[in-house]
């Protein structure tokens, strides 16, 4: 065994494991050393050369199959309308580091007794679904005569999610300011406190009051229990990782979301890196394309080196480049050049793009080594 640990700094774990599996158990140390030495030689041969333009290779390797991706969103076959952004738009969304996604989604795994798929899961799914006032009302009308809104609640919908009129009234009283909220018979009335409330204000209030959060998890708009392998999971539209993980029934080790920024906030930068790789790879795989993970890993690493997720845009990682010319060569050149001239920025011409611009050898491959001479006195 000591032989393997000796090589653990020279070879990756996966190769050592493969060797362990392939050689006979009673192999002599000298023979094993020969095998491992050969592995090291082969491994070092297949490593990327210093100075190789790996970023360029990655860009082309992801870009070329990207031209063949579908441009549409695809729909979950059969089940209640739930669609997911896939294909090129999704890849662009991830790599640009967009904060708001077109279709945020979560996969909620449940702990042991809850993932069996009996009636409990239905109940749980309904408890997770975030309900706003608009989901439980049957009518909202405006009473111009006394500057008030009249809300009629739907009894059926409220019974379904186990909500009482009293709690609705309480949440409304808490979240609505400048209005007196009270029960009037079967309806809830919101009466403006100030006399100068215009009709326009009332209309605005009507739209605002519809979005008041009532029960469940904020942000989750749809829930769908699905069977995956031999357990039931809940897929949701809308995402709120922090609140979901804190629920008792939820398996907090496997539950994920497709919102990279939420993962960064709740699970940290390394988890975000993993999520970027997984999400991009999932899209590429679902399109039947073949891109080596290493390219995606490089992109994800680049996005996560600064400690926060930065998209590959002019506001993201490109704005972090030290060279003025490199920034100017990406997008909005005039803005960068004017800004640099105003503050007297210096460009040391250390990288690739700026050297291409001034027609000098680029520091890549054979352009990387420099000759240094000690001058004789």
């Amino acid at each position: 065994m000591s032989m393997y640990t000796e090589y653990s700094t020279k070879l990756p774990k996966k190769i050592i494991d493969e060797v362990k599996e392939s050689v006979p158990e009673n192999i002599s140390d000298s023979k094993l050393k020969k095998v491992l030495d050969e592995c090291v030689r082969e491994f070092e041969n297949s490593q990327v050369e210093a100075g190789e333009a790996v970023g360029l290779v990655s860009a082309e390797s992801i870009g070329e199959p990207g031209t063949q991706m579908t441009l549409n969103t695809f729909h979950f076959a059969g089940v209640a309308e739930m669609n997911v952004t896939m294909g090129l738009p999704r890849i662009i969304e991830i790599l640009d580091g967009r904060k708001s996604l077109t279709t945020p989604m979560m996969e909620i795994y449940l702990k042991k007794p809850y993932n069996k798929g009996d009636n409990n899961i239905r109940k749980l799914a309904l408890a997770i679904k975030g309900n706003r006032l608009r989901d439980i009302v049957s009518e909202i009308s405006i009473d111009i005569a006394d500057n008030s809104l009249k809300i009629v609640l739907s009894k059926d919908k409220m019974r379904e999610i186990e909500l009482t009129e009293a709690t609705v009234l309480k949440t409304l009283q808490k979240s609505v300011k400048n209005y007196n909220v009270k029960m009037e018979g079967v309806e809830i009335s919101l009466k403006a406190k100030s006399k100068e409330t215009t009709l326009n204000d009332l209309y605005k209030m009507k739209e605002k009051v519809k979005t008041v959060h009532m029960s469940g998890v904020k942000g989750v708009t749809q829930v769908l229990p699905v069977k995956r392998d031999d357990e039931y999971i809940i897929i949701t539209a809308g995402s709120n990782l922090k609140d979901i993980l804190e629920m008792e029934e939820v398996d907090a080790t496997r539950t994920t979301t497709n919102d990279i920024f939420e993962i960064e906030g709740v699970l940290g930068i390394e988890a975000a890196r993993k999520a970027i790789i997984d999400e991009v790879f999932k899209v590429i795989e679902s399109q039947g394309l073949n891109v080596d993970v290493r390219h995606i890993m490089l992109v994800a690493d680049t996005m996560c080196t600064s400690g926060v997720v930065r998209g590959i845009t002019r506001y993201g990682i490109v704005s972090q480049k030290s060279s003025v010319l490199a920034r100017a060569s990406f997008e909005t050149p005039i803005k960068h050049i004017i800004q640099a001239s105003l503050i007297g920025e210096v460009d040391n011409l250390n990288s690739v793009v700026e050297n291409v611009m001034i027609n000098q050898p680029v520091p890549i491959g054979t352009g990387l080594p420099k000759l240094r001479i000690k001058r004789q006195k």
Binding site: P12, A252, K274
Partner: protein, 79 residues
Amino acid sequence: MVEVDITKHILVPKHTKLSDKEKKEVLESYNVTLDDLPRIRISDPAIKHLHPKVGDMIKVLRKSPTAGESVFYRGVIDV
């Protein structure tokens, strides 16, 4: 409401804080300074339990689909 231990989440790799001696060894072996390393925020939820200080070095043991396991280092920064 349950207290969530996020270090057990499948997306979170193992983070460890290096001692000053280990830190020096790593920096010397790569011939870099701490500023050259990729960064991690001091408020990052995955290193909260390590109680890091600015200037510490975090070792991340990633599970890699290509290498099985790979080691990555990050320097702790403010914000």
